[in-house]
């Protein structure tokens, strides 16, 4: 450009950084003011976004709680210690008494090789076949150990390691196959929640994009006038981006309220159910980190959704 506009008075324009910050602050406040003057339509848009965001957030909370419950069930597990063949029944019973003194063991009981065989004969239906083995008993003596309730996972693992390391024990096995299966299922659900979240994130962008598109169409004349008097695209774009930001943030807040309200409403029945199982389980809602993620994704999706729309629609309105 050959020259600045004539007779620019000194100091009338701010240094660019302060100008930039002030302009952003101005638009931030102005767009909030404009949205708050239309509370109903703003709320409806925020509610749609909020419901869409609440779904993945709620599923996340559900998975967290199921993990917590199944985790607390670990306390009801039993560990089977298969003893070396050389260990005498006396030594085995002594071992039981030693184990019961441990802090992390609730109960221990000894099952002799004969008892094992009798039990197996009864339960497996191989009774006749086992008779053929005559005197040979293939089953080891077993010590069944019940760990203390609600032992944290590290301590359960430490206990298992300690039990396996005992010289009398050949194999120590925690009866947790079903729990592992549950964890695997939860892993799938967690992944599914991510996929659902990704799809709903797209939906939020479409919702916000469409809302912004209507606003752009409503401001067609204003955009043309702005362009005529030399407003750069960034200046014209900014109010729409901040409108998207506010919609996203409001949607995130609505989602937080929905999920928190739902967990609050379920807390009572859940406590009663937990009481029946003698569990100390209590339902947990969105923690600080999850709340931050919900709000931040609302904001990010709002800005992205409107940027995507503004980028596609602004060029349509050229003066002339």
């Amino acid at each position: 450009m050959a020259s600045a506009p004539a007779a620019e008075d000194k100091g009338a324009r701010l240094p660019w950084l302060r100008r930039w910050l002030l302009e952003h602050a101005r638009v931030l406040v102005a767009t909030l003011g404009r949205l708050s003057r239309e509370p109903v339509s703003t709320f409806l848009t925020a509610a749609v976004i909020g419901i869409t965001l609440a779904l993945p957030a709620g599923l996340h909370v559900l998975v967290q709680n199921i993990s917590a419950i199944s985790y607390s069930w670990e306390g009801t597990l039993q560990a089977s210690l298969f003893l070396e063949d050389a260990v005498t029944p006396e030594r085995g019973k002594a071992l039981v008494r030693e184990l019961e003194k441990r802090q992390d063991v609730a109960k221990a009981s000894y099952i002799s090789r004969e008892q094992s065989l009798a039990e197996f004969r009864e339960l497996s239906g191989f009774g006749e076949a086992l008779d053929l083995l005559a005197d040979i008993n293939p089953l080891p003596a077993v010590v069944v150990v019940t760990p203390q309730r609600n032992l944290p996972q590290e301590r359960t693992q430490a206990l298992m390691d300690a039990l396996a390391a005992l010289p009398e024990v050949e194999v120590a096995k925690l009866d947790q196959q079903w729990l592992e299966r549950l964890y695997a299922i939860l892993g799938i659900i967690e992944r599914a929640v991510l996929i659902i979240a990704a799809m709903l994130a797209l939906a939020v962008m479409v919702i916000i994009g469409n809302t912004i598109r209507l606003e752009i169409e409503g401001k067609r004349d204003e955009i043309i006038v702005m362009k005529l008097i030399g407003a750069p695209d960034s200046f014209i774009r900014r109010p729409f981006l901040y409108t998207g930001l506010w919609y996203g943030l409001a949607g995130g807040l609505v989602a937080w309220i929905f999920v928190t309200g739902a967990t609050w409403a379920l807390a009572g029945p859940a406590r009663r159910l937990a009481g029946l199982y003698e569990s100390s389980f209590a339902i947990v809602g969105l923690d600080a980190e999850a709340t931050l993620i919900v709000l931040a994704s609302g904001v990010a999706l709002g800005v992205l959704g409107s940027a995507w729309t503004v980028g596609r629609h602004l060029d349509r309105y050229e003066p002339g």
Partner: protein, 239 residues
Amino acid sequence: MTDHIIQFHNVSHRYGDVGSPALTDLSFTMKRGEMVFVTGASGAGKSTLLRLIALLARPTRGQIIVNGVNLASIRRSQVPLYRQQIGIVFQSFNLLNDRTVHDNVALPLVIRGFRHDAIGRRVRAALDSVGLLGKEKDYPLSLSGGEQQRVGIARSIVTKPMLLIADEPTGNLDPRLSRDVMQVFERFNKVGVSVLVATHAIDLIRQLPHRMVHLHHGRLRDDEPLGHAPVPVPGNPDG
């Protein structure tokens, strides 16, 4: 820097690929600080001429130099910055009706990032210069057509541009208001602003001592100072 604010060199413009040419091989210059009227019937090319200067359109052929800058060298992304140097006044006022007079006039300053106090000062000065001080809080639709146009003029000069272009600024106004508006333009011209006004209000501008450029079917027909060759009024008085 040249002493010409606007130079057209063999400029042609055609709308679309097959349309009849709006401007054909037009060459004319305007000196810095000059006030020029572009006249001609509807469709003679007046609006096209202004649109080319405001970069609302690009010439099909030829060269346009404004304030020493060849407009062909201005990329699309630089157009806003270029337009900020020019004040543009429209026949249809182009005010934002949901904003007060003050906010309308302040808009070009807000775009440029002026300080808050500087904006207030300049807006008041601009409104004062068009005789609308005291109407700052009003909304455009509560004003008369002439007042609305003066708001538009205030908005175009609030940034103190070196060049003011106006397309039929009096097209929607009665003769008395038209004269008022032209006088406002003259006042700005007296303080050094170059002013280019496209108009068909030939009777009005005949009384004013400024150069006229007459367009006829997209060609220059008369580019002489007033008085040397009286321009015949085209047949259609409102055209």
